[in-house]
């Protein structure tokens, strides 16, 4: 191959190489939001507080929070459905745990026992996993609430970002526990595990209520309602009497105060406000 020939080939190479895999515009904010979400997921922590004096937070922070909150929301709502699916025959009316009058064949009874045993294992493992998930949030909430707020954060128009994220996680976890409780109570099998889970969430709810960082009056009211409902659940679950009147009172508290609707609405609204 002559030198001239090589030069021409090199020229072709140079011209053609410039177009090789030509990149388009850089999706900066989308990638950053995913980086933030992924780092939070890997570390199991929320975004560290910004230490500069700047109050207004840039869009990318809200995008990250939005993604995290959306995940939490979907987990919180999905949790109840998972628990319900793990229960054969789906949710039963409250009166169903008072006993069934219809006689069954031996085969039908054996089938049901087998399904119940399988479902029991599944339900226990799901509740166990969920409890572990909310424990992480509880620990983080206690850390944040017990920490003395820095003057810059106290004066800030924006509440502590990490704190807000933990509150959202707590609300989603509480919604999951209440849904799991309702399903279990209808079947008459509220157990120790659920009672412990409710106690842990009650402790976190009260701690959040007392925290100086909770300044939003709507949030304060929601936490008060949650406090009442979870306290009733703790009492019911601890006594283990399966008293249908007590259960009716809990149901009444949940529905009259619109606790589930408020929980879902708050998480959803704050996710939207975060810019997703």
């Amino acid at each position: 191959m002559s030198a001239e020939h090589n030069d021409r080939i090199d020229e072709l190479l140079a011209r053609g190489a410039r177009d090789y895999n030509q990149p388009g515009s850089v999706p900066r904010d989308e990638m950053w939001a995913r980086i933030e979400a992924s780092r939070r997921a890997r570390s199991g922590q929320t975004t560290k507080p910004v230490r500069t004096g700047r109050v207004a937070r840039p869009l990318w922070i809200w995008s990250g929070v939005g993604i995290a909150a959306a995940l939490i929301l979907s987990v919180g709502i999905g949790i109840g459905r998972r628990v319900e699916r793990a229960t054969p025959g789906g949710p039963l009316p409250v009166a169903a745990n008072t006993g069934r009058a219809t006689p069954k064949t031996d085969l039908a009874v054996a089938d049901e026992a087998e399904r119940s045993a399988a479902a029991g294992t599944s339900r226990d493992s799901i509740i166990g996993k969920l409890r572990e998930e909310t424990k992480g949030t509880d620990r983080r909430a206690h850390e944040l609430a017990s920490r003395q707020l820095s003057p810059s954060l106290e004066q800030s128009a924006e509440p502590n970002l990490a704190y807000r994220l933990v509150v959202l996680q707590h609300l989603a976890g509480s919604e999951a526990m209440i849904t799991a409780f309702r399903t279990a109570a209808r079947r008459g099998d509220v157990d120790v595990q659920l009672a412990s889970w409710a106690r842990e969430l009650l402790s976190t709810t009260r701690m959040l209520e007392a925290s100086a960082a909770t300044q939003d009056p709507t949030m304060k009211r929601l936490l008060e309602d949650l406090d009442l409902v979870i306290a009733q659940i703790v009492q019911y679950a601890t006594h283990g009497t399966n008293n249908s009147e007590e259960l009716d009172l809990i149901e009444q508290s949940i529905t009259s105060r619109g606790v589930i609707t408020k929980l879902r609405g708050t998480v959803s609204a704050r996710t939207s406000a975060a810019g997703t």
Partner: protein, 200 residues
């Protein structure tokens, strides 16, 4: 200029601290958990990293995945950054490693190797310097080995210096030059047979 004037510090240099010093300060702030500093670090380097990832991957989604993974790893390992090289070089070391491993995972390299084999059998045909020839060239670049392709892409496509390439890939500058020479030679051979008409 008098001796006294000479003794005055040059304000131009005073107001512009050395980039490495700024880099160290930025890294220190990131390590303290300053989210704004993290974003600043990202903003300063994301464009160049993404461009390289796109050139390596040839796909927007993969490029975004590789870029994200690069920065996630960088933030995880930021404590290990000693400042011996520039932050950009350090980031590119991670980026190239992520891209090469990622590309192996999606088995694109294997698919492209098959393309270069097909191309050799078509070498007797003649092509104009149109999309055909360009496509052949791009396929030939795709088919370069994992050692040659990053050097060629970084140098001839993205315009990195041999020093930057050597730092990013952890190889001597001479090796970077030798690899570029090899890459060009392979591409010349791949192009020569069917670029005849254009050259003539």
């Amino acid at each position: 200029m008098t001796e006294a004037e000479n003794a005055q510090p040059n304000p131009r240099y005073e107001s512009q601290p050395h980039p490495r010093l700024l880099e160290r300060k930025l890294v220190a702030r990131c390590l303290e958990g300053d989210a704004l500093a993290e974003r600043a670090l990202y903003d300063a380097h994301v464009e160049r990293v993404y461009r390289l990832m796109y050139r390596m991957a040839g796909d927007g989604d993969l490029a975004a995945d590789f870029t994200q993974e690069t920065f996630i790893r960088a933030f995880e390992r930021l404590e290990q950054f000693r400042g011996d090289s520039s932050l950009a070089t350090w980031l590119h070391t991670i980026a190239v490693s992520v891209a090469l491993n990622g590309m192996r995972k999606v088995k694109r390299t294997q698919g492209r190797t098959e393309m270069i084999d097909d191309m050799t059998s078509l070498a007797a045909e003649t092509y104009r310097f149109t999309g055909d020839l360009k496509a052949r060239l791009h396929a030939a670049i795709d088919a370069l080995s994992d050692k040659l392709r990053p050097v060629f892409v970084m140098h001839d496509v993205e315009g990195y210096t041999h020093e930057e390439i050597a730092g990013s890939l952890g190889i001597p500058v001479g090796t970077s030059k030798a690899r570029l020479f090899d890459a060009r030679a392979k591409l010349r051979v791949a192009l020569a047979a069917f670029a005849g008409d254009h050259i003539a």
